[in-house]
Subunit: 209 residues, 2 copies
C-alpha cells in the first residue's frame, strides 16, 4: 500500500488586470488536479514592475502594435476554449482591491473561486475592478460576507501584505503575469507555459511519473 505524500505545489502568480492571467485562472485548477498538483493562488500587482521599467502603464499600451496583437491572440484562444472575452474599458483596470481580497481568500480557501469569478466578470461582464460594489457582489455570489471583507481590505495589515507579496514577486525575479513557480524554483511565464510548468512540478515530486 502506498502512503500518500504531501501534495506537490505550484505557485500561480497573477494580476487581476492581466488578460493572460485570466486564461490561466480559468483552467489551472482542473489541469493541476489531473497532475496531482495543488495550486497556490498568489495575487500581486504589476504596476510597480512597469514603473521600475520606466513605463507609465502596461506594455500592451506602451507598444500599440503589441497591444493590438494581444487582443487578437486572446480572441482566438478564447474562441477555442469557449471562454467569453471582451477587452475591459479602460484597460488595464486597477487590480488593487481584488488582489487584497484574494489575499484574504488565500488564507480562507476561496481565492480560486473568487478570482475566477472576478476575471470572468471583468472580461465578459465589464466589471470595473475598482468598483467596490461590484466586487462585493462577487463575494456575495460565492456565499461570503461582502461588507465585512470590504472593510478588512482597508486595514493596514492587508495593505502591507499586498505590498510585501508584490515585493516578494520582484525578489523572485518575476517580470510579468501569469508566472508559475515550481517548488524547486523553476519559473515558467505565460499561459502558454502552464502545461510545461505542471509537467515540471509533477516530475520533480515524482521522477517516475
Amino acid at each position: 500500500m502506498l502512503i500518500s505524500s504531501p501534495m506537490s505545489k505550484l505557485d500561480f502568480w497573477y494580476e487581476f488586470a492581466s488578460t493572460y492571467s485570466y486564461l490561466s485562472a480559468m483552467r489551472i485548477e482542473d489541469m493541476a488536479r489531473n497532475a496531482d498538483v495543488e495550486v497556490r493562488w498568489r495575487p500581486f500587482l504589476l504596476g510597480p514592475f512597469f514603473k521600475a521599467q520606466g513605463w507609465a502603464t502596461s506594455p500592451f499600451k506602451e507598444q500599440v502594435e503589441k497591444g493590438r496583437y494581444m487582443v487578437r491572440d486572446m480572441e482566438r484562444i478564447c474562441a477555442v476554449r469557449e471562454l467569453p472575452f471582451q477587452m475591459p474599458d479602460p484597460f488595464p483596470q486597477n487590480g488593487l482591491y481584488a488582489a487584497r481580497l484574494a489575499l484574504i481568500g488565500e488564507d480562507e480557501g476561496w481565492a480560486g473561486r473568487f478570482s475566477r469569478l472576478v476575471f470572468k466578470e471583468q472580461f465578459a461582464g465589464n466589471l470595473q475592478l475598482d468598483d467596490k460594489t461590484g466586487l462585493g457582489d462577487c463575494l456575495s455570489a460565492i456565499g461570503l460576507d461582502a461588507s465585512s471583507l470590504m472593510t478588512r481590505i482597508e486595514t493596514p495589515e492587508i495593505k502591507k501584505r499586498l505590498r510585501t507579496q508584490t515585493d516578494d514577486a520582484q525578489a523572485l525575479g518575476l517580470f510579468g503575469a501569469p508566472t508559475f513557480l515550481c517548488e524547486d524554483g523553476e519559473m515558467f511565464w505565460g499561459d502558454d507555459r502552464l502545461e510545461q510548468a505542471l509537467d515540471w512540478q509533477r516530475s520533480e515530486t515524482n521522477p517516475a511519473a
Copy 2:
C-alpha cells in the same frame, strides 16, 4: 482526379539575432511541408523597432529579469527538441549582413538552407554575425559563391531592399520576431504560435482540411 491548386503560403518574418527565431527556423520547413504550406523566408531587422520604442537594444537586455528567463526558457525548449543552444556573446548580435544575404537567397531559393546554418552556427558555434569571413564560410558550405555574394551585399540595391523589407514589417504591424503572416493577413507572434499559424493558413486555403 484532383487538380492541384497553387500552394498555400505562410510568411515567416525573422531576425537573425533573435533566439526564438532560431527555434522556428529549425522546424518550420518540416512542419509546413506536413501542412502543405509553402514558407516564404522574410528576414528583417528588429533594431529600428527597438529604437522606435525608445529602447537602446533588445528588450531582453532592457529588462534583465526577462532576459534571464528567456535564456532558461530557450534551454528547456532546446533540450526537448534536441537542439544545441548557447547564448551568443555579445547578445544581441548584429544581423545586418546575414539579413542582406538571406534577401538574395529569397530570390535564388536558398534562404532557408542558409538561414538555418547561420542560426545553428550562431547559437551552437558562436559565429559572430558581423564576421564576414564566417558568413562566407556558411555560404560556401551550402555550395554558393561566397566572394561574389559578399560583394553583392554592399550594393545600394540590396541595402535599400533590406530597409524596405524592414519598413514593410513596420507597416504590417509587426513588433517582434518570429512573426507568421497568413495570406489573409492573420498574424501570429512567437515560436509557440507556429502550430496555430499553420493550422490557420491551411484551413483558410482548404476549409475542409
